[in-house]
């Protein structure tokens, strides 16, 4: 009983799994372009059993018929694995009346009680061919003529060269496509005989061409099947008019040929013939405007729209720990030509080449994507450093001006690593000395001192001033010289007079002393003797009275080569006279001193001092 229950449960689960093994897919499909007045089909496809389809309001599109449902399922075993598909399709037939763009809102459907929503659909209704009666008639006529001649007119098949812009800036992407237009003919294939121009003056980037799909397009009043055959992005490399030559294509058309039907096989195989048709896509001229002047520093040719983000692994670290700065430049433009901005790491950082990862996508509007750059550096010395900002300048094609993106600057605080310390302790004696390295040269900076002012006047001296400046001191010096010399001469005269009169004066004083010797005033006598000696020496030796003393006299006499005995006698006489003035001796002493003094003066006179 219990086992039976479990079995039923398992069965239910399995069935459920079968049903819901896949996700529910519910999609709406319709041709993107339709011609007004021609019905078209809108289909809703769901891969599960479903019900309650709620189609949206078709709006201005005419509802003609539907929904017709159809379903198909298939089961296959591959390598013992069962795969089953199931498709349920609802088909509506609609028709557009007026040219324009229409949007169909999503439809809803219920699968197992759950509501699912489809995608919305956009439909462009193209106007019908102009002059419908005439054109239709013409086309049938043409067709019949073609069928007869096997040729195809220019109106029925041609190539167009389509450029997204004709006026661009240097380095701004232009999308060029060669598009085939055909109506009423059947294009089988293109031969290899195509000639695509060189695109000189451009940097070319071909777009990946998937399977060629045809689209309806209303052009010059007619609806054509179109196919884009070739697409490329072009980046003008210089300014001015750049011409693109015409491109040559060759298509193989299948043209029905009306022939006499000989057999049923002829009709089957031979009623069509292949006709090769040369097609020319006309050349175009692109006007490339030069980039405006005033390129900022750090501009490396980037044109487009970019943004920049930056990241740093850390700002606090130890020596010998790596630091990484990541810079990501995102945007659209000539990504391939972007130069990697450089980081000017401070001294003391070991730097490595940045690792650049490019992730570019080429789309119809140009190249877009991201360029991420990783800068790795290892600080080798501790300290506070500032890694200067990374500047990335580009020309913004939308705002038509240069823009500069900046990342950083980053202030790094590098501490001495633990390992570093030990290492240093060991090798402390071997500190690697470095000379101050000259990193660059530049002029010295301007001076900012406040200007000083003065009364304006002559800046250089006049000739007279110059002459006076020399003449005046000269005159003063001459005058001084004259004055001083006269003074000296006068002094010399006095000295000479005293010199000459010395003996006479001394004799006079001595006579006076002789007279006093008889008297009782001893002090007067001695004074007279002393004065006689002193004044004689003073006059004779031209010594000022202030400098008169025995030592001075002795040294001058010595200089004058007077004999030592005489000098000793001078000393003794002067001492005796001085001494006797205060302690008088007897009359004999008086006479003796007088005689000695007289004799001394006589001797000095004889020695011709």
């Amino acid at each position: 009983m219990k086992t039976k229950h479990i079995f039923t449960l398992l069965l239910l689960v399995a069935a459920n799994m079968l049903l819901h093994g896949e996700d529910v897919s519910f999609r709406a499909q319709a041709p993107s372009q339709v011609i007004a007045g021609k019905p078209f089909q809108l289909t809703y496809t769901v891969n599960q059993r479903a019900r309650d389809l709620k189609a949206p309001d078709f709006g201005d599109l005419d509802y003609i018929a539907g929904p017709y449902t159809s379903q198909s399922s298939s089961t296959s075993f591959v390598n013992g694995k069962r795969t089953s598909t199931f498709t349920l399709t609802y088909t509506y037939t609609l028709m557009g009346n007026k040219a324009g763009k229409y949007t169909l809102q999503p439809a809803t459907i219920r699968v197992d009680g759950q509501e699912y929503t489809s995608n919305g659909v956009r439909i462009t209704v193209l106007p019908p061919d102009e002059e419908p009666a005439a054109a239709q008639g013409g086309s049938t006529q043409q067709q019949s003529r073609q069928q007869e001649t096997g040729s195809v007119s220019q109106d029925n098949i041609f190539m167009r060269t389509i450029v997204s812009k004709t006026h661009v800036h240097e380095q701004e992407a232009v999308l060029l496509s060669y598009k085939l237009y055909f109506a009423g003919v059947d294009v089988a294939q293109f031969t290899n005989n195509t000639k695509i121009p060189e695109f000189t003056g451009f940097l070319k980037q071909e777009l990946e061409q998937g399977e060629i799909q045809t689209e309806l397009e209303h052009y010059n009043g007619r609806n054509y099947q179109t196919a884009t055959v070739y697409r490329t992005l072009l980046y003008p490399q210089h300014s001015g008019e750049i011409k693109i030559d015409a491109a040559q294509f060759e298509a193989v058309l299948r043209v029905q040929v009306r022939q006499q039907v000989r057999s049923i096989f002829d009709d089957f195989f031979g009623s069509y013939t292949n006709v090769t048709k040369a097609l020319t896509a006309p050349g175009v001229t692109i006007y490339a405007e030069p980039l405006p002047k005033g390129k900022p520093a750090g501009f490396s040719g980037g044109v487009g729209r970019f943004s920049m983000t930056s990241e740093i692994t850390g700002t606090e670290m130890k020596t010998n720990e790596a630091v990484t700065v990541k810079i990501n430049i995102q945007g659209a433009g000539n990504m391939k030509l972007l130069k990697t901005p450089a980081i000017d790491w401070p001294e003391g950082f070991e730097t490595y080449d940045p690792k650049v990862t490019n992730n570019f996508k080429t789309g119809t509007t140009g190249m877009s994507g991201s360029k991420s750059i990783e800068y790795l550096a290892i600080p080798r010395a501790a300290g506070k450093y500032t890694v200067p900002a990374v500047k990335f300048a580009y020309f913004d094609t939308q705002d038509k001006e240069y823009k500069t993106l900046t990342a950083g600057p980053w202030d790094l605080n590098i501490e001495r690593g633990a390992g570093d310390k030990e290492q240093e302790a060991v090798v402390q004696n071997y500190v690697g000395k470095e000379e101050i390295r000259q990193l660059g040269t530049d002029i010295r900076y301007i001076h900012n001192a406040e200007p000083q002012y003065r009364k304006s006047g002559r800046k250089s001296y006049s000739r007279t001033t110059v002459v006076l400046c020399y003449l005046l001191p000269l005159l003063i010096a001459a005058a001084l010289f004259v004055i001083f010399r006269r003074q000296i001469r006068e002094n010399a005269d006095i000295t000479r007079r005293r010199y000459k009169k010395a003996n006479k004066v001394a004799q006079k004083r001595l006579r006076e002393a002789q007279r006093l010797m008889q008297g009782t005033d001893d002090a007067a006598f001695y004074e007279a003797v002393e004065r006689a000696a002193w004044s004689y020496l003073s006059d004779r030796l031209s010594i000022p009275t202030a400098q008169m003393n025995k030592d001075n006299i002795a040294s001058i006499l010595h200089d004058k080569k007077v004999s030592e005995e005489l000098i000793a006698e001078v000393r003794e006489v002067l001492s005796t006279a001085e001494f006797a003035r205060y302690a008088p001796a007897g009359d004999n002493a008086k006479e003796e001193l007088y005689n000695r003094t007289a004799e001394l003066i006589n001797n000095l006179e004889n020695s011709k001092i």
């Binding site: 000083q452 002012y453 009364k455 304006s456 010289f481 001083f484």
Partner: protein, 245 residues
Amino acid sequence: MKLLIIILSTLFAQANEQYAAGRYAEAADNYETCLSQQTEDGTEMTDESRAEVLYNLGNARFKQGELAQAILAYERSLRLNPGNKDARYNLEFARSRIIDDIADNRTFFFSSWARSMRDRLTENTWFLLSVGLFVIMLAALVVFALARVLWVRKAAFHTAWIALLLSVVSGIDALSLHRRDTERAEAIITQGITNAKSSPDRSGTDLFTLHEGTKVEISETLGEWCNIRVGNNEGWISLQHLERI
């Protein structure tokens, strides 16, 4: 009346700010205005201040890439204040960018040394120095003539002749600087590239090529032309291709 001084000072400060912001062309224009403004109240910038303005102008011109104008400004700045070491350094720096390398065999080492010594002071300083030394010489002579002690006389004599010699040298320097400033014979090539001709005539034979920033000596002028001497070369150049310092 005082207002003008304030305007000048403000203009100078503004130019310095522009220089700091990297707007060298505007800064240079303002420096030029500072230099050309005449004051009405009988005051003017001191030579030192004019030298500073000229130095800054030289820097702005250099940053603009106008080498000849920069060299001119530095030269003029140094004439007003030969003691400005930064101006001398920058002048040498700017000269190192000149294309022409002047080889002059005629100037001996001594004469070039003498010239560089001369350019270290202004004319007035040399003159005052010369007068001062002359006075010292006279004093020494008076002492020499009157002193009776031998060593004093000897010392005075040597002082006198050394002072006289130096006074004469200083006087010559002052005179030479005076002549240089009145004749204004030295000039800087302002044209990017110019050819010296054999005659003061457009059709003259091209003798040699000179580049922007080179210093030449004008020995003679004739109409629109001047005869210049540079190194061992001599030729005629249009006056519009150079500017006197």
